[in-house]
Symmetry: C2
Subunit: 584 residues, 2 copies
């Protein structure tokens, strides 16, 4: 399976270090010569867009290549990807991209990154299954080398030896990483939780983490997403129990279950409940169909062909014989669920006997659209079950007690919280300090920081170019903060265009002013305002000083000022004003 295993191992990787010899002097000596650099390019300062570079001498490995979904202020932006200028500049050093799991915030930037750099990619089977689908879509598959590893497989990439360690998460086939380097071992947890009863029985491989812990770990990078939650994260299997209950109680009507299509375990649990209570299954949504296909092909999802009904054949079954597993749990405007809720779907119509389960998180920022979806579904009389009223969703990330366990098992010399906004990283650092790690060994980094590690020191020595690149339609990076500022301004009070033609010689207004507005006021009821605006423009030109009269760009500024003053005083609004003067 893993052709990487055949590669030669570096001298130091074979050497066994006894537990009693943690950080022995010889390792320190070696590592003092060249520091190990850890350079996060995304995910330390935001939730999403995870990507971290590790550099030793002439070798770089990259961990994950994720995207981020835009925040509300990023108007019109479709997705956000990390700035990989540093990787482009050092592309000849890059030995590989290692993917911890198949979520978009870990693999979603690959199609963009692989247009710039093209190192081999390493991941587990399902992760690469999802990547293959994505790269096929972007017509990039032919150029890329995809290398499958299993948990406990190792691969040598230049000075790095990377071992995959099984972790449980809300997607199948996730791993953490043990990265052995001449400076010491760095553990990266990936996204993880300590689910003791995961659906596939594959618990987080604490034994392997423990083995490294005993041998001595230089630094631990650990998932901070849920660090604000006390206690333990509930097992995915508990959701299965809730789903089973709902299916048992509802013998009439259809049951819709909306969830993230990558959550294969949850899909499996819904399939199980449907089978048990004699229902056929309709899969709906493009990504649901794709991910179910991939997971079935690779053996991660078990369902008989005869249990699946095409959406077009649904009418052949009674309502209580049907379960629909669908996307659209975030209230996406064009999703089947949203269309149905507004009674605008081609085939499907919500019935009063329908039960709709939204088995996913209300992602912050989507609260309002999800709420709209629920309101509409309730209006059609459906019974809607969601995470606010039922234990129908659990997180895939470790809570505080699990994070403590991971830390105590790995016993790192230095601790680097990753995957989170600054507040999460800071809270994680605080948590670990309470477990006894001195403050100077908890490293709070942000995107672009360069951390240099030797066997016994960790210093942030500089910063590389890093940040967020906005993707808007086909444009990558042509929308920046300035364009967003303009969009925001336009969105708040709309705009006013003033066009007029002026006789160059006499300074007389030959045509216009014509006034066009959009998003400012409801024009039909405000013709008075338009007339006032015209008067103010003409007055401004009439009283303009001589300089302005010979420099029309100066006059445009005057007109803008006069109108701005007027609108602000009269209406307390600040539309964007475009005076356009053309000279004859």
């Amino acid at each position: 399976m893993c052709r990487c295993e055949a590669l030669p191992r570096p001298f130091w990787a074979t050497q066994r270090i006894a537990p009693t010899e943690l950080f022995p002097p010889e390792v320190t000596t070696v590592s003092n010569q060249i520091p190990l650099k850890i350079i996060p390019l995304g995910g330390l300062g935001e939730i999403g867009m995870n990507i971290i570079a590790m550099e030793y001498g002439d070798d770089i490995i990259v961990i994950d290549a994720g995207l981020m979904f835009p925040e509300s202020y990023m108007l019109g932006v479709d997705i956000v990807i990390p700035d990989i200028t540093y990787l482009k500049k050092n592309s000849e050093k890059i030995r590989g991209i290692i993917l911890t799991h198949g979520h978009e915030d870990h693999i979603g930037a690959l199609p963009f990154i692989l247009r710039e750099i093209n190192p081999p990619i390493y991941g587990t089977r399902l992760t690469l299954g999802f990547v293959r689908e994505k790269l096929t879509e972007h017509k990039l598959l032919h150029q890329v080398s995809l290398n499958t590893l299993k948990p406990r497989d190792k691969v040598v990439l230049g000075s790095f030896e990377v071992e995959f360690i099984r972790v449980s998460h809300s997607i199948v086939d996730g791993v953490g990483l043990a990265i052995s380097t001449p400076a010491g071992v760095v553990i990266h947890t990936g996204d993880f939780k300590l689910d003791q009863t995961p659906v596939d029985g594959q618990v987080t491989d604490l034994n392997k983490f423990a083995e490294y812990g005993e041998r001595g770990v230089l630094a631990l990078m650990a998932d901070s997403t849920n660090v604000e939650r006390e206690g333990y994260t509930i097992s995915e299997r508990e959701v299965g129990v809730t789903i089973d209950e709902i299916f048992r109680e509802r013998s009439r009507g259809r049951i819709f279950v909306a969830l993230f299509s990558s959550n294969i375990h949850r899909v499996q649990q819904v399939i199980g409940a449907a089978m048990k209570y004699g229902r056929k299954i309709v899969f709906n949504g493009r990504s649901m169909l794709a991910n179910v296909r991939i997971a079935r092909e690779l053996g991660y999802l078990s369902i008989l062909d005869e249990s699946i009904v095409d959406i077009k054949d649904m009418h052949k079954y009674l309502l209580d014989e049907i379960t629909i597993i669908t996307t659209g749990s975030q209230g996406e405007p064009m999703s089947a669920l949203m269309l149905m809720s507004m009674d605008e779907h081609k085939y499907l119509k919500i019935e009063k006997s329908d039960t709709i389960i939204l088995s996913s998180k209300f992602i912050p920022g989507n609260e309002k659209t999800i709420s709209n979806l629920i309101n509409h579904l309730c209006r059609r009389g459906a019974d809607v079950i969601h995470e606010k009223v039922s234990e129908i969703h659990v997180s895939g990330h470790a809570s505080q007690e699990e994070l403590k366990i991971m830390y105590n098992i790995v016993q790192p010399k230095f601790f680097i919280p990753v995957h989170g906004e600054y507040r999460h990283l800071a809270t994680h650092a605080r948590l670990v300090r309470k477990l006894g790690l001195p403050e100077e060994r908890t490293i709070l980094m942000e995107d672009g920081d360069v951390l240099e590690l030797t066997g016994d020191s960790a210093v942030i020595t500089g910063k590389v170019e890093a940040g967020r690149i906005f993707v808007d339609g086909k444009g990558v990076g042509d929308v920046g903060e300035m364009v967003l500022r303009d969009r925001k301004h336009l969105s708040e009070d709309g705009m006013v265009i003033v066009v007029l033609v002026i006789n160059k010689q006499t300074g007389e207004v030959v045509m216009g002013p014509d006034i066009t507005t959009r998003g400012f006021v409801f024009v039909k009821e405000n013709s008075e305002l338009i007339d006032e605006s015209k008067r103010i423009v003409l007055e401004t030109i009439g009283t303009g000083n001589i300089e302005a009269k010979t420099d029309w760009s100066e006059m445009e500024i005057e007109i803008r000022k006069a109108l701005r003053r007027h609108y602000n005083k009269k209406m307390e609004r600040k539309p964007v004003i475009f005076p356009i003067i053309m000279e004859m």
Copy 2:
């Protein structure tokens, strides 16, 4: 205190009905003649903007007059108020506006409504204290009649007799209402919870609700805000315990507590902790200063003058001698807290020893700005405590078990869930049906619906004009859905203006095309795109058919189409395009 008590009582209000005679035939007979109408004009279909009209014959009373804060799609809108066309049309019938408590979603629309209608206003002391402040600000106080009632006071307003019933909530001096009418008694809970240990010891007056319950209640309107929460809402006093703990543990550095200024009980609890641990208090924020002043004047807040330090004198004290009680808990951009977090405040600077407590809800829609605030504060090294990591906030609204108690005590014939989006109303109706009320007696209404109640029937008989009016700057109602659609469109991909002057006779382009964009692309790096756009405009004019050449508005449409096609194909973007052709 209550000069209303002196008014004559209507004939039926004096009549006592024995508990055994619930809904006796004579009441039914009377009420059959004229139905009681309940007409919600806001708050049934949204959280906020609460206002309900009740009408009997020639008498109308109005319950609350709240505003709503804009949802994210309401770009540029400052606040949202209810459409009160129905009240304007029937202004001569209105006998009074009754306020249940002083929150903005119950009193915030008053300044707008009182410009249209001017009935007397009834409320408790603190509620009217807040109203007085608001009306003074809007220069409306002189025209308004404010009438103070205490809990268990009654007032007769035409055919209605209204009794105030103490309820506990996150603001002091809230009440529910018992509204006796010839058709029967209607109970309105106001916003309430069953806090058994409220800070002022004033528990919800279940005895009074019970008295009405025994006598027979026609309809119950009950707060649905927290209907999705199981169990009981935690007591406000528990927050006091948490606050005390935080103060005890932090003997070094300042403590900031950010909360809603109307939450007088919480302010009192923070004052208590500050006193206990020997700290002075600085109040900060305009609304905090105003509400603390009002609450002190009216005796709802107890603090010694010598405990208060002006923000300008703060430097005279050691850090650990100071507590700052401030607004800004929602990450408002210009709040002191936000400015400090970004190191941009005039006097105040965050120190590493500071503790900042955000003692309020993360209101959906504000999550991102609050998160930004926390991130910045963490970056300055402060210890930030908020509702996600500590029991530092409790809700003021009843959870499911409390709602069940209220229903079972009042035993209404009909149940009308109020205060919520449709999902909350539907869930509340479902909850009450589980307690045994038949489906046809749970009335799901939305804003504008007209419910006609007699002693034994409840029918929605029609709809009146109702809805949301957007306030943007000084404009009330001049921004509608169409303007918002335009703002949204502008916000997504920006705009492109094309101006050119054409010779009317020859159809030749005399000047231009000039292209201006905003929020579209970063122009400096896209001069090529501008050149292309110009070329496309000229080509379109060149190939335009004869009709178009004589009808320039037709040509404008052609240009818009051509550019739209081009941008969509090349960039997958859809800016708003304004072709402006001027003819010479």
